[in-house]
Symmetry: C4
Subunit: 381 residues, 4 copies
């Protein structure tokens, strides 16, 4: 019996990932920026939201489906965009895409993916979304948008919360920096995780394929450096409007935390937002997304699809956001931990665990359908 | 001197139970659902309620009795329904019923009891209440109601907070699942608790007797499986009204947390409620019952008898709820821990400890009678 | 150099006491009732009060004196009543009385003292106050009041917060119960503290001298038992008025926590109150006295002298209460810890430490006189 | 590679300082007064301020400069005044002054400096400010003011929060007292830090040069004693006005915490304040400066330059204060830790780290200029 088969919740997958990945790789995935205050606050804020179970209610027939941008998905969960997934498991992006497809939920491919857009588009039979980073060279961004359209990605999420990269102290301490250099410590790190080493050796070092192609580069370090240099810190609503107008389908802004931008978003023709602090990986000290959600819901008054991420680990976390007005929830690390625990079957199990947790939370809350969830189901002080 | 004779508070009984029971059995009793956030919050919320001792008041003659549904009980405490008590001590339900009788308080028998209704009805000379689970096959539920009436159970509590079972991670990790399978770990678990093993061997493995009879089954695993499959997730106020009308005496809904259902409860002819999150064993992330109590009291405005449970461990916990408007308090684990510590005499000691704690709290608060307790005795921020 | 000479704050004295006293004696002094929730809350609540240093203010000449009931004392500190002080140091009450006298502050003798009223009255040249327990046999209470008057005690504090004793779990676990019985554990306890043992052997076992005399008893256990049986749980404002009218000087009610009694106190001719939860030793779960203080101050509107105790350990703790409206602060354990650390010189040092801390707090707060302290010096959320 | 080159945040410098300095020296720098409640609260309060990242905003061109009293500085950071810096690194004040100059920020020299005003004035090419202690002998204070003016110090900060010294328990316990006496413990302390010992031996024991000169003294202990005796606890607004009128340039009051003094400050001709609790080293139990900041900003209504210190460790801490209305932030320990970690290059690195952290925080918050920061960027509950 593989270890991941004993995982009963996301925290279990995290522990398995921790013992499967070299420390520096685990820390790259698990860590947050700065003092990790926001990383901790993400958990603490979700814990401050209390659920009011509303029994007795007939929940014999339960429905977890949600409709986002005209498409119906099996549950209110989205595998959010994360770069370089292959560092967790060979062909990580394809693994996630296939598992998402099987589970009937969207997979959001990152601009920093270690796979090509073509490969992801073909992986499994689920719906693919594309997360775009805006580049200084706007032609490159636009080319990506056009390519995503031609490959039938359904939704674009433009990430706006990293005009520049956050400080990741775990990475600095572990020497997990770009360009990468070997030290005895790191070698030892890797040597103690022979399974991972073996998988990487057989499949080749992960590379940011999409960027490599877009910028015409070959060397992994150079690509990462290019990413850092080419990210455009000048993204504003005008640039967004420009990209939005190129794109035929739903357009989402990922990484918003300030409800005062809601009007601008609506005015720019944006269809939805992902309220997010990037999982505590960008601005340390940032408020939790769940704490900002009610202000967004009030400001948007139904004009935007509300997605949210950062810190969601259980079905109850997810229903808390839904009750407060989110339409669906994205996850970053949970499915990375699962991938690192055993590839696609592990991710499938993780999604099944979450689906089951959502189903139980929904049943015990007295909400037969996701749309039955509403603010009376929570107390948030 | 038996170990339980050195127990001075419920926490002491818990510790003795922990060293008397195999880990998986202790965890089954002690644990909560999911991340156990609600289990912790139950304690934390009670600690947030502060008592305002109102000396000097004449408390020379103190009276702990309460009247519930026309009957007077010796103190504001009820042994709440818990299934399969024999896993803690042979003939556990009878042990609890007899001790409750001696203490002059109600014992609530569970549908999942490891004893028959006839045996419980005959155990000791106290008043018995019956906790009902509603089944998909409504005839079975109704038959139970009729039988409870014929055996002179005084009150029915219909449990509405488990349309489906919660996730119990400790049980999953310990492999305490249904159907049960032996592993070396579990054998070792049991081998280190020879006293418990000896008691179980002499008395036979605990079985859900009531369900076994109701569904005509013999095998323990099958019974548990049937329980899970037959629990009706479709319970609503109509079904409750139907059962209520069959029952000649007081009818209580157990497992409510949402005060917005109060009107429906009154309209359905319900006499009382047990505000509860099932001891943190069903919806993880649920609010504490003590936090919801004031909203219930306000909404009911005297039309419902207010019972409450989940996390009550001391006399001061109990008077906090009474001061906020509850009429009596149920306990689940406290008397299970006591039973596991030494059977009936241990349970009697636990009830005496709680009675003494209530008496002291009452005296020090300046409330000669339970009805003297009122919101001015607490500050809850 | 004696150990207590290295004590720089009350917490240091506590640590020295812990290593000087047998565990069961230390626990008797240090412990609280029940789960010790109130003991912890006393500390936590004081920590929630934040001081607003109001520099620049001329604090070149500082005055710590306070006037209570017409007498001026050197600082806003009172050694509060504690029973059986000789268990900490031989002739403990006399030690405390002499040190208080030297420091120019009141010493409050307890009804449960291990010294006679005559001896305390003669000890040192400070002012003595008397703490009275009301007995079922009212003649005994009255006789004590008359004797206190004839011996020139200045103030009577009638304690109303122990109509019955609280539950002290540390004492129960240590077997520190009345009547006392030796066990191997307790012998070992004592054997590891030879200094204490030697002092007790030379001076004889501590006895509640005052009660012994009042009830005409000789045996220590019998006396303690009598205390428990004779304490009157029927004290109300009428009984207090009766005693008040017997007493020629200032009359204080100790152990109040409920501001709704303020009018009754005024109406009964009471001059002051000690807001107190008995140092977390009576009603576990009680609010902290500092949290209740503002409500008392508002209700009394200057008609009562406001004393307070429970948890005060530092000069800043003390000025917090003064800023919120208290006139002086009593301490229980701090001076017991000091006495146990080295008798009278240790207590003198502890009082000097506190005096210095008050002086510093006052200077840094910008309050040249104690009367300059006011609510603008604190933020309490 | 020197150890400080591996420091990635101020906490890293603190750890290096801890292993480089003898315990008593580290504790002297690191410690707070009393129970260190305020030291802890400084951290806790900053953590309670949450940032609202306001992407997308064009932050391609970022400017960290701030203008204070007519001068433009490279970033909103000031090295605040700390005495006897040479205890951390030889010629500590000059080290700090030179590093500040290179970084384009002010260095505030302390009256208790271990360097002369002339030497500091000449160190590096940055702007120097002078922190003044008011002495009982007002002529000495005035002479210092005049000398500071003649040496072209730009700003005077008069410290008002130590009319008398706070209680530093770590120092008392370590025997780090004045006059200094060697004990075996202290010798061992120093022996385990040979690098520090070597540096001190080569450069001579640190001495408060400025005071030594001002009072015409030679012996280190005598100087410290003089400082304690000569500090004027009688400073009030009149004395401040007197000094203010002597000084030709900007005049700041350092160590204010009470917003009710704002009018007096304005009326006395003061140009700015440093809201401060002296890094938790004076009044233990004091509120955090960040908590008081909003009240100051409201009261001053733009009439005072608002500086703040106490507990700031990261770029996000700093932008929190700026968003709430501060104009710049002072630090005490951060640059001392850095100096102790490796002298001037280490301090330069620490300033670069902070500058980078501010830049990142600013970028991720969506504030291209420091003046773009405003209260909408924070939630403070
Ligand atoms: C290892 C890792 C890589 C990530 N890479 C990207 C990325 O390339 N693009 C992006 O928009 N977000 C990226 N994110 C952020 C996630 O999309 C998401 O906002 C975040 O992980 C949510 O928090 P959670 O991990 O607590 O679920 C990454 C997150 C992680 C953990
Ligand atoms: C081991 C165990 C079994 C339980 N079985 C039942 C049951 O069969 N029916 C029911 O209504 N509640 C059941 N409960 C819930 C209790 O009635 C009660 O709501 C809960 O234990 C109260 O919390 P406490 O344990 O903190 O007192 C059970 C609780 C425990 C701990
Ligand atoms: C060992 C001990 C004995 C006490 N005995 C008495 C007593 O005999 N009478 C009384 O009124 N209070 C008694 N008290 C309570 C104190 O007067 C006071 O209310 C309490 O100690 C204040 O809290 P503190 O110890 O935190 O200062 C006693 C307290 C202690 C610790
Ligand atoms: C070791 C040390 C010495 C200090 N000496 C002085 C001083 O001589 N004059 C002064 O005004 N403040 C002095 N301070 C206080 C600082 O100026 C500043 O208010 C405080 O350190 C800010 O808190 P932080 O250390 O958390 O940044 C000193 C602080 C430390 C840590």
């Amino acid at each position: 019996m593989a270890r991941y088969e004993k995982a009963h919740c996301i925290e279990d997958f995290r522990r398995i990932a921790q013992s499967s990945l070299p420390k520096m790789v685990f820390d790259f995935i698990d860590g947050g920026s700065g003092m990790e205050a926001t990383l901790r606050e993400n958990r603490a804020a979700l814990d401050r939201v209390k659920l009011v179970a509303s029994a007795p209610v007939n929940v014999a027939t339960r429905d977890q489906s949600v409709t986002l941008f005209g498409q119906t998905y099996a549950m209110p969960l989205i595998i959010g965009p994360t770069g370089l997934v292959s560092v967790a498991w060979p062909q990580g992006e394809l693994v996630l895409a296939r598992a998402a497809g099987k589970a009937g939920i969207p997979y959001v491919m990152s601009t920093a993916a270690s796979a090509t857009m073509e490969d992801v588009a073909r992986a499994g039979d689920g719906r693919k979304w594309f997360q775009l980073y805006a580049f200084r060279d706007r032609e490159i961004s636009k080319a990506m948008v056009r390519k995503a359209a031609s490959l039938d990605f359904e939704v674009i999420e433009i990430a706006v919360d990293n005009p520049i990269p956050g400080t990741r102290l775990r990475d600095s301490r572990n020497g997990f920096s770009i360009p990468f250099k070997w030290t005895p410590g790191k070698l030892w790190n890797v040597a103690t995780r022979p399974g991972w080493l073996w998988r990487m050796m057989r499949n080749g070092a992960p590379k940011m394929e999409l960027l490599s192609e877009a910028f015409g580069l070959q060397e992994a370090p150079t690509i990462a450096a290019v990413l850092q240099k080419q990210l455009d810190p000048g993204v504003d609503w005008d640039y967004i409007r420009e990209l939005r107008d190129l794109w035929p389908r739903a357009f989402v802004v990922k990484g918003m935390l300030d409800p005062s931008h809601v009007e601008a978003a609506v005015a720019s023709g944006v269809d939805g937002v992902v309220i997010s602090n990037h999982g505590g990986r960008q601005l340390d000290g940032a408020a939790s997304s769940i704490e900002m959600l009610p202000e967004f819901v009030a400001a948007a008054a139904g004009r935007l699809t509300m997605l949210i991420d950062s810190g969601f680990r259980t079905g109850t976390d997810i229903v808390k956001a839904l009750a407060l007005g989110a339409h669906s929830v994205q996850v970053g690390r949970p499915t990375l931990f699962a991938a690192a625990s055993g590839g696609q079957p592990a991710v499938e199990r993780a999604l099944a665990v979450l689906r089951n947790e959502i189903d139980i939370a929904q049943a015990l809350l007295g909400a037969a359908a996701i749309s039955d969830l509403n603010p009376s189901h929570v107390r948030f002080r």
